[in-house]
Amino acid sequence: MTDARKLRSSGNWRTVYGGPLLIGVLSVVGLLSALLYEGPGRYFSWLALGAPIALTGWFYARRKRA
């Protein structure tokens, strides 16, 4: 792992876990917001918990076809 080239090609924790971590934190905030704040919390929860679904759709739309 000391080889710089190998490091670059093997990725780091941020490129591997960064995306899922962000979606995860957003999901948890969304789960709690509807429970703690009626009205605005509810709207936010729809956006935050809808994000994993929207992101999946986006990845599907721009997938590489062989």
Binding site: T15, Y17, P20, I23, S27, V28, E38, R42, W46, R63
Partner: protein, 368 residues
């Protein structure tokens, strides 16, 4: 290894939970459609509500030979009064009959629950196997959590050379592998929360019994050795005293003496607040079964509060219809993660076996 085996053992049951859970997200709407969620008649503005004692008498007359266990007020339908009757105060919960009565006319409106949704619920909660079935599904839920966490660890070696959200269609196996990783990664927090709150819910009876053995036993100490009440106090007077003891709160349900939620001497009136959070945090007021006088009122212990707050996070019923639809979509995504995981295991075994056979070697176990 951990990921493979924790998933494999629980796969069948997790699929059962996810599939039966899907219609249960919309059980309210489905019950309404099928006539298991009766609606009260529209009352004249300013019309007075009937007394709860009258509704209780009507409920007992409707189910002769039975006793009242609970009377419950739906948070979203305050004009429905729901009465639970059973053959004994501590009868089998499966033998309970739930009927709705109109708060303004005391007229019976019909049975509550039941029908196909009850079958889904029983399959989801205990597979018709009572408390052992419930605890077994709790163990399966625990394996689900282990599978998710071990999946996070495996995510590194398997995806570190791929950018997030890579979907390839080189082969069926690679395509499902990518879907497994993507859907697993984006649903992880939701799946952990729904899984963990589901496991907590399987321990509900254990927690309730713990509360009865400690806090409730302490509250009813002065009544030790006394016979159970013969003539029950007026329900309206009892409820009114409970309201005065917990100002600003509404009645969620009243448990009759001898039922699992109270002592054999007391009515327990469970009070709730009116926000999504405080409406779950019930506060019991204990009242003497014969006189209706307040005996004690204490907040529930932390473990029961945790149970009550974990319920909406499992059901997804606290953010309107859009949240229910999101809940359903995330559930379907989880079904795909579980199904593709099973497929990947089978495909890998097949590959190993054909390789091993070609080399004249015995089949190897996958190393994961």
């Amino acid at each position: 290894m951990v990921h493979t085996w924790s998933s494999l053992i629980s796969t069948l049951f997790l699929l059962l939970l996810c599939i039966t859970g899907l219609p249960l997200i919309f059980h309210h709407e489905i019950d309404e459609l099928l006539g298991y969620d009766p609606k009260p008649e529209i009352a004249q503005p300013g019309a007075a509500k009937r007394s709860i004692d009258e509704i209780a008498r009507t409920a007992l007359a409707n189910d002769p030979g039975r006793v009242l266990q609970y009377i419950l007020w739906d948070k979203d339908e305050p004009n429905n009064v729901i009465a639970f009757t059973n053959n004994k105060v501590d009868g089998d919960p499966d033998a309970a009959t739930l009927r709705a009565y109109d708060a303004h006319t005391a007229k019976p409106l019909g049975p509550v629950g039941g029908g196909p949704m009850l079958v889904f619920l029983k399959l989801h909660v205990d597979m018709f196997a009572g408390q052992p079935g419930k605890l077994f599904l709790g163990a399966m839920g625990f394996l689900f959590l282990v599978a998710i966490i071990s999946g996070v660890v495996l995510y590194w070696p398997f995806t570190r050379r791929l950018s997030f959200g890579t979907l390839r269609d080189k082969s069926r196996r690679i395509a499902w592998f990518d879907w497994h990783n993507l859907l697993g990664a984006v649903t992880i927090a939701w799946a952990l929360v729904v899984g963990a709150t589901g496991v907590i819910n399987t321990l509900a009876e254990v927690m309730l019994n713990q509360w009865k053995a400690t806090e409730l036993a302490d509250m009813v100490k002065p009544y030790a050795g006394k016979p159970p009440p013969v003539h029950l106090a007026s329900l309206d007077a009892t409820i009114e005293r409970a309201r005065q003891t917990a100002p600003g709160m509404n009645v969620s349900f009243i448990a009759f003496p001898g039922t699992p939620f109270t002592s054999s001497h007391h009515f327990a009136v469970f009070m709730r607040g009116d926000t999504p959070l405080t409406s779950r945090l019930l506060k019991p007021v204990l009242l003497d079964g014969e006189t209706g006088a307040v005996s004690d009122a204490r907040d529930l212990p932390v473990y029961l509060k945790a149970l009550l707050v974990s319920q909406p996070l499992h059901f997804g019923d606290y953010g309107g219809m859009p949240l229910k639809i999101i809940w359903a979509l995330l559930d379907i995504m989880t079904i795909v993660v579980i199904g593709s995981g099973l497929y990947l295991w089978v495909a890998k075994r097949r590959k190993h076996r054909s390789h091993a056979m070609a080399a004249g070697q015995p089949a190897l176990q996958p190393s994961r």
